[in-house]
Symmetry: D3
Subunit: 326 residues, 6 copies
Amino acid sequence: MKDFFIADAAKFDNELVTSFFVLTSIQVREKKQGGQFLSLTLADKTGLLAGTMWENFEAASSSCSEGCYVKVQGRIGRYQGKFQITVQQLRRAAESEIEPGDYQPATRFSVDEMWAELRGYVSRFSNEDLKRLVFAFLDDDEIASAYKAAPAAMRLHHAWLGGLLEHVLTLVRVCLAAAPFYPEVDPDLLVTGAVLHDIGKIRELGWKSSFNYTLEGQMIGHISIAQGMLREKVQSIAPFPEKLRILVEHMILSHHGKYEFGSPKLPMTPEALLLSALDDLEAKMQAMRNEFAASVAGGKDAGEVTDWVRSLDRPVLNSRAYLRGE
Amino acid sequence: MKDFFIADAAKFDNELVTSFFVLTSIQVREKKQGGQFLSLTLADKTGLLAGTMWENFEAASSSCSEGCYVKVQGRIGRYQGKFQITVQQLRRAAESEIEPGDYQPATRFSVDEMWAELRGYVSRFSNEDLKRLVFAFLDDDEIASAYKAAPAAMRLHHAWLGGLLEHVLTLVRVCLAAAPFYPEVDPDLLVTGAVLHDIGKIRELGWKSSFNYTLEGQMIGHISIAQGMLREKVQSIAPFPEKLRILVEHMILSHHGKYEFGSPKLPMTPEALLLSALDDLEAKMQAMRNEFAASVAGGKDAGEVTDWVRSLDRPVLNSRAYLRGE
Amino acid sequence: MKDFFIADAAKFDNELVTSFFVLTSIQVREKKQGGQFLSLTLADKTGLLAGTMWENFEAASSSCSEGCYVKVQGRIGRYQGKFQITVQQLRRAAESEIEPGDYQPATRFSVDEMWAELRGYVSRFSNEDLKRLVFAFLDDDEIASAYKAAPAAMRLHHAWLGGLLEHVLTLVRVCLAAAPFYPEVDPDLLVTGAVLHDIGKIRELGWKSSFNYTLEGQMIGHISIAQGMLREKVQSIAPFPEKLRILVEHMILSHHGKYEFGSPKLPMTPEALLLSALDDLEAKMQAMRNEFAASVAGGKDAGEVTDWVRSLDRPVLNSRAYLRGE
Amino acid sequence: MKDFFIADAAKFDNELVTSFFVLTSIQVREKKQGGQFLSLTLADKTGLLAGTMWENFEAASSSCSEGCYVKVQGRIGRYQGKFQITVQQLRRAAESEIEPGDYQPATRFSVDEMWAELRGYVSRFSNEDLKRLVFAFLDDDEIASAYKAAPAAMRLHHAWLGGLLEHVLTLVRVCLAAAPFYPEVDPDLLVTGAVLHDIGKIRELGWKSSFNYTLEGQMIGHISIAQGMLREKVQSIAPFPEKLRILVEHMILSHHGKYEFGSPKLPMTPEALLLSALDDLEAKMQAMRNEFAASVAGGKDAGEVTDWVRSLDRPVLNSRAYLRGE
Amino acid sequence: MKDFFIADAAKFDNELVTSFFVLTSIQVREKKQGGQFLSLTLADKTGLLAGTMWENFEAASSSCSEGCYVKVQGRIGRYQGKFQITVQQLRRAAESEIEPGDYQPATRFSVDEMWAELRGYVSRFSNEDLKRLVFAFLDDDEIASAYKAAPAAMRLHHAWLGGLLEHVLTLVRVCLAAAPFYPEVDPDLLVTGAVLHDIGKIRELGWKSSFNYTLEGQMIGHISIAQGMLREKVQSIAPFPEKLRILVEHMILSHHGKYEFGSPKLPMTPEALLLSALDDLEAKMQAMRNEFAASVAGGKDAGEVTDWVRSLDRPVLNSRAYLRGE
Amino acid sequence: MKDFFIADAAKFDNELVTSFFVLTSIQVREKKQGGQFLSLTLADKTGLLAGTMWENFEAASSSCSEGCYVKVQGRIGRYQGKFQITVQQLRRAAESEIEPGDYQPATRFSVDEMWAELRGYVSRFSNEDLKRLVFAFLDDDEIASAYKAAPAAMRLHHAWLGGLLEHVLTLVRVCLAAAPFYPEVDPDLLVTGAVLHDIGKIRELGWKSSFNYTLEGQMIGHISIAQGMLREKVQSIAPFPEKLRILVEHMILSHHGKYEFGSPKLPMTPEALLLSALDDLEAKMQAMRNEFAASVAGGKDAGEVTDWVRSLDRPVLNSRAYLRGE
């Protein structure tokens, strides 16, 4: 168990600490006066900590590499106004010593509650075929455990453990709120699309110790991975109505809404159109939220216009904070 | 009062009818055998009817021009499988003889009920400044009567009398349904944006006898017209908080969501982002609905993929009809 | 068997003919002098022929619709310089009476020879897994018979029966000619991509009596259809190396080379890059060839610049004819 | 009054100076050997100067923040080849001690002469309504004093005090020179557009102590701000001809010439077209001029091609210097 | 000499006329009642006239083809409200019988006066090398006679005989008016660019009997043709300063100002930038002028907004006519 | 002769070396403790080496500038883990002391063999005119020596001495392999285009001591330079068939295949289309090859996906290495 977190370094100034971290960089360097030392960066879900190991680091440096979990003993100090650690001992940690949730940012909601709420919506489907299809995914243990853990993205929005589930759940709620105003929309079909549209991300992304793309993710992409998963599940619960298969597959293929975002088809049905619009809205709203937080963290007032946001191609403004005069 | 509608021509084959129409084209032509005749097109909200006047048309042709309301007496007949009218008498109609709703397609909902519902949402605002601002528009008789009558567009979506109000009301409902899922969003501010975003259309579009753009509409556009109207109302209810004025003005300027659609700013606040996304969704969903109807009217089955839809850059499919096997 | 072709109408002027056609339009119309007649358009692979049936057409018009094969007896004549047929008898034809190749343009090469050549290339693969995979497609009777018949497109290039096979075969030949100059390229992998890249077209397109898109073709598209077919075949020949599966799948997904052409991924491997470039070249070269023929058919000299070609966004010039002074 | 300028530091090496500056950064830092010091950056219109204050800086650091004017006493020295100042005393300066022109780059022309020339052109208008309108702006003291001081942009072109007036005056001159060649152009209307097109910049930009965007500037933009100012002035001088109001408003809205540059309308009148073309030319020519100077300042010869200019998407060449062989 | 013009047909109704025309279409057709007749279209600079020749047309049809000048005798009449001619005799005309200016629209200015004015500007160059260069073009008889006759475009702007000279002359005048405001600009170099930038059009376009593109024009384009002509002239007047050659060549290559308009380089010098901006302005202003005329000719009031102008991607408004209330 | 290469510094640690280099930066700097020193960067084809000269550097710094070849004597040492040189003597080198191939990366193939192979293809042309034309270039000593030395680009692909010849030769080979599959293609014309398409690069690029653009290269570009060279050669071997000249010129002008890549024309002939497609393929394949090498050099495994490649707008994967499990 981890009982020291990087964000708390100030409370341990000049003290000796022992804890677990992810090793995000490790490098042997030359001392100016001759000889070598080990320069490294440690991480947990609360931040990054630079470290230096001056002696006896040969075993450590040969057994650990970037991405490893490590156990470290060292003294916290300050250099040029920033905290760092002078490492005395360092070894690779065993899997059993590690609670992944300590090392990566994670959703602030209860995964179990979110999962139960999501299943609840599906269990109320009136279309039995769609219910069978979605539960074929949610009852698949391998899929379920990945679905509960995966982030929704590498960065930009919901880039944390449980982020995929959190993103999908919000999307499902908004879909259900909006659907009644569009009589052309079949709500069960729409929610099926919302639950499955990003399921390819569980194979596109890796989130063990750090977030990254898998090779399949880069070569195939989550849209086409999801399509393949759909095909396999449909075969496994055959017979399944061909028409529903096509409509669900179409929602997956078109949910990015634009060719240049990697969707091979544009949304052609009311459900696909609604899903694509609300998914885009959800992602942008979350991106805005992140920028508000980052701007305050960077020293601006909450009610000020942020710096230029590259992913949105504009700066943004937290209107409520602005009105409150913050 | 108008008691003959063009769509009912088949019931009057070979009969003499007397009714009012909009004159949408009028032209003097040469007969092959010498002499002249009058060729004209009549319209009402149910369709178009070609007409011919062989004699004594000089007074008629000099007093009426395209866009006039006319009173016509003539005999219904068929030519090459289509109905037409041989006109015996034609004169310009007085304004008092005309019920504009007979000549242009109109919303199928009650304008009064929609108006009352819209006012109800505003009256429940907790922000008194925004309530004052929106009612300054809705209580302005000139604006109110135009707002109730205007179409939302020349074509593509809600291109009928009352279409603007219908479009806004649906948008307000969806905004209110979606807002609770986004805590950054101030619902009063959002609904203010929804009610006012398209108000410039009452000066951009003309809808007397036919739909057209005003000169101001073409040169200034409804976004900038609305901004000017906002400025004037804000002055008329001064003092009004500057911060709210900027946030409302920003929603108006950014609601098209893209520079190439004529928005001089991209949405920078949560309310502007949500409004822009749901407005775009509403317009596209209504466009899809129109295409479904047009496709069936053009002879396709309801469950077939439509022809290419130019404004959406794709064909569309009525998924519910497809599932029902229509 | 069909022994009259539309292109030969001039030889049968004023004669009575009996033959089979595709019915491409059928409409009951009003005669000017009262009463009705049947107006129709007949087609075979050599062209279109307008027809009129003046009497006793009720049974015909109720049993046949657009896209049907029909047997027709009538007299050839001319009207305004064009040949037409005055129909005396018309009935729906039985499938057994029809040789589809008579009704649609078809490749001028031998399908059997092309098929054998294609299989020959695959049989010489040194990679046994890829050989197994490709033959799992080519030995699948349903796939094979569709592959031999399908056109490569609705129009623009190889829009004829057998066009898909013809396009693929040329592409394979050019791939094999170019591969030796690029040592990074695995020729078996490249040819696998060439054989399978467009295989989704056998479900995207319909070519019975006329060329059209299937509903699945419009909603899913041939790229994603092919990806699904690949997944199914891979499962059916399991175990199959995952790495090869990803590389082949990537070639299929990226072969259009641009997002805006519906490829969800850009070519990332040497094989995918080479395949995409040569596929695009093949299609454009064939489009140029079509334009040269159409320009001469339209009355221009072979050595003149053609009219503007919309699909290529430029006019083109048959350089060899130009040099010969044609 | 300020009698030491940063560009003259070399003349004061090792001397004690006392002067006023803008404080552009201020930060308390840790000394390596323990304790703290104040690190700051001072600026005036001639450049930037790094400073260090080792003792007794608490009052200074608590009373001054970025953007303040300060009075500083310290000794000039060199560190790593650059001049810096070791500060002994620092306090916030009073407004009365400051001449803003000392702290920001300013036009090299006489503001009064430019202003008089501009008014002269307007006074010669033959259209009395336009003359009244423009003077309603120029005679408004608040507007006039901002108009004379504002830069034309944050960077890229005319980014100095008086830059707006300088830009407008050059534009008016070129407009008057070009107008006679286009008989469709009303010169009074054109010059009205030239004088007012950028007037929104006086609220879009802030230039007190440093150049920045106002919140209104970011949320509304100078085009729409100018449109609002026009509406208000038109009301204040009512009655004003509606047609002229629309034409002037259109010039303001369309002067950027492209949707993607934030113009909600494209130029539709001869005056709007001419204004937009010459405004773009003026801005690009000034940008080119800046690049020539920056290239020489960066060590290139005047007659060499400059480095890539991002804002113009090309490098540029001072052709006259190139011909002279510089 | 031509003494009947098509625009005057009404004055010759039912009369026999004899005149010269360009033959723009000729076709042998079948009569309904059997036999053949000749259908043709005649043109001169005032319009088009349909014609029919019922007998003895074999010699005519075999000796004349589209684009020929012909001498025609026939009777003017009306058919369906339009004038046409019943041809009695038709023969190919000799070159000597033809004044090309009668068959194509031509500039309304004196070509000789324009030419003299243009040469005057060049003769006042202070740069002797540029003067030599430009006169090497203007004194070349072949070039001069083509320069005086060529249109500036196939359509859109200055599409008439003498249009190239007219366009260049206006451009030179505006360049000379604008240059003094840009001290970086060398006026002789600028005017050299203005005179030579479009000189490739004399080989890109053909204007004998009708306007068309030459094969070289389509394959090479006027920009690269002009560059080749420049190279040849520079060689013929060697030695010529290399620096001037590069700067002039650069102006020619970059004058379209955008890659997508066929310029292989963007303007990099002050002269190239100014030339490109004013050339674009000139072309757009002339296009606007044409649209104003076409709109009035099409029945709109001069002060109304025109229909959508495809080439400008907007409608336009004649502001002066609008203000005058036309 | 150069007998020390930078890549071998480790073998000379602490030793005195004497060798030749290109001087890529030279700067006089202030020592912290007062006085000045010379800071410089040396380069050869194997890398860069930082250097410092503490004394007696006045003559050196005044006689040498960036881009010079220099002779240096100094001692190799390490600083912060990197090798550097403490210079004792430095002087400008004479041209005669320098073998340019030692200072820039060069092709790994024999230039003479490549040149002979290229000439061999041309000598087998059956079209004597094209053979004459191409040999007029290849037999021109000035062109030939530049053609053999020039790189194909500043970076991205074939950015080394001999790169142009290497690129052209591979392209010619692929052209000859592909041509037989396209009967519309004249192979002699195609190879002519391949040999000449990039010949403008010998004047666009400079490669003496380092790679750079010439002023003419930046202002005119290699496409238009090549066109000018073609015009001159055609004149020098007159008479040459005009049709061939146009077709060759068109291939040069259109070979970039897109307007935005600086081609003023799109490929309109079969040869131009094929040349443009294969040239683009060659460049992309070489870019991919470079990225594979750079990725391994940067520490990734050969079978891993590389980092994002900006010039290709995607990451890439060495598929063969991936399959081999590297």
